[in-house]
């Protein structure tokens, strides 16, 4: 098992590359989730209190 992680001396480079990619992907997924939550909350407040849009004058 430790031989697997050692990668014959290249462990630092191999695991840094894969680790960095994994962190970047996790960050993107978390950002997507939080952005979706924020946008849905924004849509909810638009529904409950409609902002004066272009139609407001005619309504």
């Amino acid at each position: 098992m430790s031989a697997f992680f050692a990668m014959n001396g290249y462990g630092f480079y191999v695991w840094s590359a894969y680790g960095l990619a994994a962190v970047a992907i996790v960050v993107e997924v978390l950002l997507l989730r939080s952005q979706r939550r924020a946008v849905l909350a924004q849509a909810r407040s638009t529904v409950s209190a409609p902002a004066p849009g272009p139609l407001a004058a005619t309504e």
Binding site: Y10, Y18, L20, V29, L32, R36, V39, V47, P50
Partner: protein, 249 residues
């Protein structure tokens, strides 16, 4: 039978379709990545020249391919948006940019960690590496330009023009290893000749490429849904969505 190709060009019909596709592609990406990583890190034999450092190829090449593919797709959507003035095309282009930047970043970072043990340096101003760095700046430029313009429709047009202009960089990246004989090696896989690598290595790389495709499709569709809700939030169909009406949905 005539098919209405424009049916899914409407955000209202595209939104639920994308919602069904996101978990499918995300699940596919996880399964493919698990198989690809197992082949790449465990099954594939150690390279006789590079030792185990070469195993970065299973991450580096798929990410680099995706970084270029995604840019071409983003530019294609931008061209559609500019030509046909379709909202959803511009939203798709907007949704691709961050995932494209992510793939470019992974390609550059994994390349640096591969270059250090094999070439003796993390970075060089080599043609392939420099043009890939410019690709990252193009993605970041498209994202920054959008954030700088308040009106989304004007932002669509400005970002579309920038994205289309930047397409010139894609053939430069692709052919850089042929045009300039600098540090980066030529392609390992070619359309015109047999691949210069063992079939198990090629299999691992192709499976990881499909994983990258599936992940990118899932991430882009999920982001497109967020963009649709943000930009169409005044529309009645958005207000009627269960996830908008119900706090817990």
């Amino acid at each position: 039978m005539s098919i209405n190709w424009f049916r899914y060009a409407s955000p209202a019909t595209f939104y639920p379709l994308a919602g069904k596709l996101v978990p499918l592609f995300a699940g596919g990406a996880v399964i493919l990545a698990a198989i690809g990583l197992y082949i790449g890190l465990v099954v594939a034999p150690t390279d006789f020249q590079q030792g185990d450092a070469y195993r970065i190829i299973f991450l580096h090449v798929p990410a680099a391919w995706m970084s270029m593919f995604l840019y071409v797709v983003m530019a294609g959507w931008s061209a559609l948006a500019l030509g046909l003035n379709t909202r959803l095309s511009a939203m798709m282009a907007q949704a691709i940019a961050p995932t494209g930047a992510l793939m470019t970043l992974i390609a550059l970072a994994s390349g640096a960690f591969w270059g250090r043990p094999t070439w003796g340096t993390y970075w060089a101003w080599d043609a392939r590496m420099t043009s890939e760095l410019i690709l990252l700046f193009l993605y970041l430029g498209v994202i920054a330009l959008r954030n700088a313009i308040d009106d989304p429709r004007r932002a669509d047009r400005a970002c579309g023009v920038l994205a289309l202009t930047g397409v010139v960089n894609i053939p430069i990246i692709y052919f850089s290893v042929q045009w300039w004989n600098t540090l980066h090696q030529g392609g390992t896989v070619s359309f015109t000749k047999a691949p210069s690598m063992e079939s198990i290595m090629l299999a691992g790389m192709l499976i990881m490429s499909f994983a990258a495709w599936f992940y990118a499709i899932a991430a882009v569709l999920a982001r497109a849904r967020t963009i649709i809700v943000e930009r169409e939030r005044g529309a009645a169909w958005i207000a009627a969505l269960p996830e908008v009406r119900n706090i817990n949905a």
